[in-house]
Amino acid sequence: MTEALQQHSDESLLDRLRAGDDAAFAELVETQAPRLLSVAKRYLGDVAAAEDCVQEAFLAAFRALDRFEGRSTLSTWLHRITVNAALQALRRKGARDEVDIEPLLPTFDSDGFLEGRTQTTAADAETLLADDDVRRQVRAAIDTLPLGYRNILMLRDIEGLSIKEAAEMLELTETNAKVRLHRARQALKKLLEPLFVEGAL
């Protein structure tokens, strides 16, 4: 559907939703729930928690319908609300099996040189991800990052938000968000090192 068509169909659906039309609510939930559930699963892992999250997100959206300004499509708006609900659910859940981030950050020797490899594989991300095993490894590595680092990486690199938008959602300053994002990527890089070492695949 083109943007203009999407906007138009959103508008008529929105009018019906605001009028309290049951069929419109059913249409919205039926069309949007599948995608939102797959987004929620990325954050929460298990299906039951993701379903609770999607339900919460829809109810929050219904309450906020009057405040929806139509600056994004309904589906983008719902996506955002779902991510927020997932972040809240993670916060409530508290500590998980997380690695310590410090040992995953780069180290420098006494002369100030980076201690690291001088060779790496040439395979690009797309080639690497063609292997299902690699996809699982990347997902698992992201999941072991401490929450404060994982969330910013999810929002910036996976959701594709700007750093500023991601910082706002996580209630961080932009500077703090940048520091965390950088560390998250460094740690993930370290966790994924086996993929980059020549001859390891």
Partner: protein, 102 residues
């Protein structure tokens, strides 16, 4: 480490510290995010790239950093482009029932 390698590293350290505009590895590292985001001005960008040309570990580290970001960006690209799996009817019914119960 062999005496020869130590000498080589020391010489390189001296060069890096005293060559005008040369970044240390730690400084290089602190610019990685800004460089990747395209936020550096041209002189900082040049200094960054100069260090990268001279320093194999930083070159590799930066290449792996870029690939790590790309892996995250592409991890769900296929899933996003595909039709999502249908949800359980119970979920839809439960959401609609919860709305009516408000």
């Amino acid at each position: 480490m062999s005496p020869w390698r130590v000498l080589k590293r020391r010489t390189k350290a001296l060069m890096m510290r005293h060559a005008p505009g040369m970044l240390t590895c730690a400084q290089f590292e602190s610019f990685v995010l800004a460089y990747h985001e395209g936020e550096l001005d041209s002189s900082a960008r040049e200094a960054f790239e100069r260090h990268m040309r001279m320093c194999p570990p930083c070159q590799v580290s930066f290449a792996d950093y870029c690939r790590t970001v790309a892996l995250g960006q592409r991890l769900f690209a296929e899933q996003d482009a595909a039709e999502p799996a249908p949800v359980d009817d119970r979920l839809v019914a439960s959401i609609l029932a919860a709305r009516r119960a408000r």
